[in-house]
Symmetry: C2
Subunit: 416 residues, 2 copies
């Protein structure tokens, strides 16, 4: 039982937007054992859409189409789907009522004919009502295969997938059980790791797959098990992990949750009723932004400062001028003072701080591009580490952020 995702719209092909929709669908489907065979992004073009539908129907049992459902002329998906199914468009009264309601609630614009046309759906389609927008989802079946067309607006598509598409698919098909377990390692390259665990890998049972996912200093090992029986998959993955762990003890960081590390940290801080403040320099607000992306962050996150200019580190955070002069602004002394002082300022249990040089040019310090100091402060101590994350600005910022989260996670997880 496999699915294919077809995304329609030139904006993905010309790189104007990144296709986050497919990643979302892939992740959600995966939770329920639905594998994605292929993701295909195509132009808003009738011939191309017909061709993609035909190929998808040959390869997959479930075809999810996103995009191309807006009211304007560049969207021809609905008509093309009609043609593919030898069908005609009919007005759906419930969809029309939804369109009218959305207009009366959110829009000062008059309801136009083009908006009313959103209520036209193929006569063979079941409507999936879109409560967040005017373009409905559509569910069609043929020869036991399911075609679902969804609007491309991410939050409209997401609600439709979660609340309607997945429940309907699960009631129609029986999916195998899938489980992924991702092990995070740090400090050994992909190939050295592969050599070390080669024997173990060679003896994995056929229904368990291993993937190496190297990313910025870490290698994640993803074990994927797939079988009809949940019990068999769960037990065998645990068996395999038990065999593996003794071989990677020195580089094992933990398991990667389905959640981001900052979400895991947030949960832990909430449970512990502890609070966090942040002082960022080279990471420029990315740590705070990642923390506050999680709902409920206000339970533990008090606030942060980005002291980008050297003078702000002195003025706002009270870092000593002589420390900066003697040790430079990218130094152990400065990063530790930042963490210590921001923790006091916001009166929190923990603080993270960063100072470094993300490049491309050297800043107010002679530190090599890529150098980043990260500190953690608690009520009774402050400590720091230095890293070199190479000479790509974005990479330095992302790795600095990840590493800061790793250090904090370690701090709040370890028993002292």
């Amino acid at each position: 039982m496999q699915a294919e995702i077809i995304t329609i719209g030139d904006e993905i092909l010309i790189g104007q937007i990144v296709d986050t929709n497919s990643a979302f669908i892939g992740k959600e489907f995966n939770k329920y054992g639905i594998s994605i065979y292929q993701i295909t992004s195509i132009q808003d073009d009738k011939t191309h859409i017909l061709k993609a539908l035909k190929e998808a129907e040959e390869n997959a049992d479930i075809i999810i189409i996103t995009g191309g459902l807006g009211p304007t002329k560049d969207d021809i998906t609905k008509l093309t789907i009609c043609e593919y199914f030898n069908d005609t468009l009919v007005e759906d009264k419930a969809v029309l009522a939804n369109v009218e309601q959305i207009f009366s609630k959110y829009s000062s614009a008059p309801l136009l004919d083009v908006n009313k046309q959103q209520a036209l759906v193929p006569s063979k389609a079941q409507v999936l009502m879109n409560h967040n927008g005017t373009a409905p989802g559509m569910w069609l079946e043929r020869n036991g295969k399911v075609f679902v067309s969804l609007p491309g607006v991410p939050y409209e598509m997401k609600d439709l997938i979660k609340e309607q598409v997945i429940p309907k698919l699960r009631s129609k098909f029986k999916f195998p059980y899938i489980m992924h377990k991702t092990i995070l390692t740090y400090g050994l390259g992909e190939s050295a790791l592969a050599e070390r665990i080669e024997k173990w890998e060679d003896h994995l049972p056929v229904f368990i797959k291993l993937a190496y996912l190297p990313s910025l200093g870490r290698v994640r090992l993803r074990l994927s098990g797939k079988a009809a029986e949940k019990l068999i998959v769960d037990r065998e993955i645990q068996n395999q992990i038990n065999l593996l762990l003794p071989q990677i003890e020195d580089i094992f960081v933990g398991y990667e949750e389905d959640e981001s590390i900052e979400a895991v940290i947030g949960k832990r801080l909430t449970e512990m009723k502890k609070s966090l403040a942040i002082a960022e320099s080279c990471t420029g607000g990315r740590i705070a932004k990642s923390i506050t992306a999680n709902a409920g962050a206000s339970a533990y996150f008090k606030g942060s400062v980005v002291t980008y200019a050297t003078e702000s580190k002195v003025k706002l955070l009270g870092v000593s001028k002589s420390d900066i002069n003697i040790h430079s602004v990218v130094s152990k002394e400065v990063v530790e003072a930042m963490a210590k002082n921001v923790r006091t300022m916001f009166d929190t249990d923990y603080a993270i701080s960063t100072t470094g040089n993300a490049g491309p040019e050297k800043g107010d310090s002679d530190a090599e591009v890529g150098t980043v100091w990260i500190a953690i402060a608690t009520k009774d101590k402050v400590y720091s580490e230095v890293f070199n994350f190479g000479n790509h600005r974005e990479k330095v910022i992302v790795r600095g952020t990840n590493k800061a989260f790793e250090m904090l996670q370690k701090e709040i997880t370890i028993k002292h």
Copy 2:
């Protein structure tokens, strides 16, 4: 002349990573008139790779393959490409030297056989040397079609595309000239806009395409012109814009640069030698993060505070307690005090501030979820606006950030 991108790796299909590589390639290719016909994401599976290569060869003249070039067992791309081209792998001395150099410079791990195997390339391939990693790019030709295989690590892939793939493609093929011009409008829905400019749209010449790109309160109109002659495309797009502008005067915001709005703001501030500070509440650091993602931000960005907790707004930013009690923390009085005080704190020319409720729950205020106040402070004034961005947390944060940039852009662009 069309290209297809094939990305290989389960991690995209299961949604573990978002395919930003294809968006990058699409954007870069587009600059040089190379259209992307299709993006296809497939599993790390021999049969599937062979099938995708065959289909791509039928549809496109240039096939770009990313991913699947790591040293470990789950990467079978190189062998499969060999099979597709009826070729064998041979050791490339220059690649081997590159692998050895990278290991001696960046890695404490010993150089293993699996690493040395990175130097094996199909005998018919031209090597595209990867100076950022051990997996080389490979360029193959058959029947006038070009196949390029690149590593999936974004910064390795990006350098190879820019510095090697595009120059080689341009010397081999003659591409038409492509120009996109994107017009930003605000305040009228997609369909009302389409109705208003229908006549103009119907009279567009065939070599100019129009797309409506609605996103979070704005509709972008993207005009794309494509022809052999640059002069013809440029002139006709300008003609069409001249015809269009009088019809959308009331909703016209500006042109969307290829750059992000924050990059445009950064350039303008640098030219003007002006500086910026930020005080964020509900946007949680996202504004600062977007500003500092641009190299050279230290020329104008002094720093920011994220005062997430109400108490931090008082303690750090000196917002008056009675204002908070009387008007609530999500109010005109509070947001303007935040902007005014953060500007003074960092001693800058401009400041932005936000306070609001991103949801999902109401915070320290009775303001409806989605309510966001945004203020701009300059040396001689402070003003603010209030918005309701709906009830999706991520949407509220993103729209708040975009809107803050729009307000700042207006402030620094308009002649007073």
